[in-house]
Amino acid sequence: MEEIATTAATGVAGGPGAGNELAIEKREQAMLELADFDEVVRVYRPRILRFLLSALSDRDAAETLTQECFLKAWSARHQFRGDSSLSTWLTRIAVNLMRDHLRSRSLRFWQKTRGSALDVMDISDWAPDGRGTPESVALARSRVAEVWKAVEKLSAQQRAVFVLRFVEEMELDEIAGTIGMNLSTVKSHLYRALAIVRERMGGAQ
């Protein structure tokens, strides 16, 4: 809507240089947004933290990688071309950090237990829709715990796609753009991830 308004104001819509003008406009807007980095952190930190917390199920790791994500973004802010939105760019950095973290964690096989890993007790004050009978709340929590356990079994790519789809509620083409995959690969990862979750939940029942 904002883009439409911009093109209408400049009066170059439909012209040969319209695409270029729009790209320049978007880039300038992104640069302007990046200039106030405190604001960038304030706006996007909850989202990045949510993605990393969901993907890693580890508070400390999620906090550390969130900090690292913004540090990387700050260091590479001059390389940001504005091809994608700032949110997509930051999420891409977070996905790469998560992938590296999972790879290094699998190598550190002696550190299987994590002190800051999420537990069902962490959602003791959470209730679906904020209400329900104690039984239905307990059932909902046990279901969430089963999905958590299933997510632990997913590969880094599957996990990223799964979390972006079901926690961030992104569309598949948006996920493809964020992770840098084509749409069919995203669908394939999501299909496999769902099969694992379904199997896990079926086995638990």
């Binding site: 909850p46 933290l49 002190g115 959602i123 929590r141 079901f166 509620e169 769902l194 939940m201």
Partner: protein, 153 residues
């Protein structure tokens, strides 16, 4: 018609129920994760980094465990080395010659030199006939062997 047949199929109904449950679970998961992330974002960094009770216990126990393991390894090694050191001392004492022993060995060598010099002296006159006899025996043996050589040739 087709829809009615599928709906009547108990297997299809079961699958649909399973899919519904999965969709519900995924929705609950998303909701729970968003709730958790909100809590985490709201809590200050220091509070979030505070180690849990189990972690704190582990942090306290870790140095004690490390000390116990070090002691368990170091004590046998120390005692082994200590015993080894004590065991080596008598051997050192044995192998180290005492001044008396040194003197004795010097005396022995002097005695041996003296004996050797006396033995290598000329045969005393009283024993001269015996010396001649032995010389004769040696020469006869030599002549016999020479004859053998000649006959062989």
């Amino acid at each position: 018609m087709k829809i009615r047949r599928v709906a009547a199929d108990p297997a299809a109904g079961e699958t649909r129920e399973e899919v519904r449950e999965l969709a519900e679970a995924l929705s609950l998961y998303g909701s729970a994760m968003r709730h958790l992330a909100e809590q985490q974002s709201a809590s200050p960094w220091i509070e979030a980094r505070r180690p849990s009770r189990g972690m704190r216990l582990r942090l306290l126990l870790a140095p004690a465990m490390a000390a116990a393991v070090t002691a368990a390894v170091a004590l046998p090694v120390y005692s082994h080395l200590h015993h080894h050191h004590h065991g080596m001392a008598p051997i050192a004492q044995i192998t180290q010659p005492s001044p008396a022993q040194t003197r004795a060995s010097v005396d022995d060598s002097a005695l041996m030199t003296q004996i050797d010099s006396e033995v290598s002296q000329d045969v005393p006159e009283a024993l001269q006939p015996l010396a001649d006899l032995s010389e004769q025996t040696a020469s006869s043996t030599t002549s016999v062997s020479e004859k053998k050589h000649v006959s062989q040739e």
